[in-house]
């Protein structure tokens, strides 16, 4: 099982691949929409890639609750637990 830090860096890699944003811009308190300028379709791509990378499932109805990077990291940590 990955630590929160490992999940964060894994997620940052996925965000970088989808958007081109530098991985170190993906910080815990950043909002996907407001700070990182990630739209709903890019968010879905990130979600699907995160599912693959972390071996979890994130249903569509939960995606809208993932507002900040911290929300996503916690969700993934919990889903793995």
């Amino acid at each position: 099982m990955a630590t929160e830090q490992e999940i964060l860096s894994g997620l940052a890699e996925i965000v970088n691949e989808e958007t081109g944003l530098p991985a170190d811009a993906v910080e815990m308190d950043k909002s996907f929409t407001d700070d990182l300028d990630i739209d709903s379709l890019s968010m879905m791509t990130i979600v699907v890639n995160a599912e693959e990378k972390f071996g979890i499932r994130i249903p569509d109805e939960d995606v809208k609750n993932l507002t900040t990077v911290r929300d996503a990291v916690s969700y993934i940590a919990q889903a793995q637990g």
Partner: protein, 338 residues
């Protein structure tokens, strides 16, 4: 003694013999869309790839749009309307419960008494029609079949809905499917998932608008509602494997393709699907959505017609087609371009 009945036999192979398109005159820009919804040209382009779409005239019906598309398809095929044995119209925007658009269209183009019926498979309708027509030709129930994808989605769009108002457009595309001396249409990979019926759906049913005495209707005009994110996930990650299956079933590798013509739902779906499929960079991909928006059943033949006309795909080349949409339903096949 029981008599033995006769079953029809057709030709071994079928192909698409001609394609035609009709693009309504009125060009609707993103600037005009932004007079209905709070949005911007940049936002619409980034989310969808759409720059313009076409809207039919208020009085123009799907039969009016289909007619010139059929005439062009017949001309390219070198087939007279009287040689057409069946007319299949795929549409969700023919506003009569009955009779079918196909029967009216068949008469309009001079194909009477061809068999004529409508097909309801939303954005996948054209590819359903091609698969069906190919099987009809090969089984002998028809020699030449007109397959039409046509929509007037401008009448079926909530122009106040920020999530869909910019997406949809009107248009018609048609092909003639007929006999061939070599394989011209690969196996159709198709299917449905009704558990996701509410993902893309008419917002209100006609009967729910009916007054108590049953004589009048009232309420909001129905439109197409869509859960965009869910559709995006399904389209990219579920439909790319279906497209791959259509290639495998046809015995075709990605590098054999001269064109990829997916349903023009959203350029983001198209780009992500190309990536998922791992198509080589030099294979031309249809992006008619930029000019036409999402025209549902009409999008695949419209895009095909543009690629052939502009020379981005060669006559006789192999094209991978895939349609997917409300149902949810889907269909894909590899064809030889006319």
């Amino acid at each position: 003694m029981t008599a033995t009945l006769t079953q029809s036999t057709g030709t071994e192979h079928s192909r698409v013999m001609g394609v035609g398109a009709m693009r309504p005159e009125r060009v609707v820009t993103n600037e005009e869309v932004c007079t209905w919804i709070d949005s911007s040209d940049t936002w619409i382009r980034e989310r969808s790839g759409i720059v313009t779409r076409r809207f039919a005239r208020p009085e123009e019906t799907v039969v009016d749009m289909a007619e010139p598309a059929c005439r062009d398809a017949l001309a390219m095929a070198g087939i007279a309307a009287s040689q057409v044995d069946a007319v299949i119209v795929s549409t969700v925007t023919w506003y009569l419960q009955t009779p079918s658009a196909a029967a009216v269209l068949a008469e309009r183009i001079g194909a009477t008494p061809a068999a004529a019926f409508d097909l309801s498979a939303a954005c996948a309708g054209f590819c359903h029609g091609v698969g069906l027509a190919s099987d009809m030709v090969r089984s002998g129930s028809a020699r030449h079949v007109l397959v039409v994808g046509v929509e007037k989605l401008s009448d079926f769009t909530d122009l106040r809905d920020r999530g869909t108002a910019f997406l949809f457009g009107d248009g018609a595309g048609a092909v003639v499917v007929g006999p061939s001396n070599h394989p011209g249409i690969g196996p159709t990979m198709w299917g449905s998932d009704g558990a996701q019926a509410d993902v893309i759906t008419q917002t209100t049913s006609w009967t729910s608008m009916r007054s108590e005495d049953g004589r009048t209707i009232s309420g909001d005009w129905p439109a197409l509602g869509m859960a965009g994110q869910t559709v995006f996930r399904w389209a990219v990650w579920q439909m790319a494997p279906v497209a791959q299956k259509a290639m495998d079933a046809a015995g075709i590798r990605a590098e054999d393709l001269a064109a990829f013509v997916p349903h023009q739902a959203n350029v983001r779906i198209i780009d992500a699907m190309v990536k998922q499929l791992g198509l080589p960079d030099d294979i031309p991909v249809a992006r008619d959505i930029e000019h036409m928006g999402n025209t549902s059943a009409a999008s695949v033949p419209l895009a095909m017609e543009r690629m052939l006309r502009e020379g981005t795909a060669p006559h006789g080349g192999l094209a991978l087609l895939i349609g997917f949409g409300a149902g949810l339903v889907y269909a894909a096949q590899v064809i030889e371009l006319p």
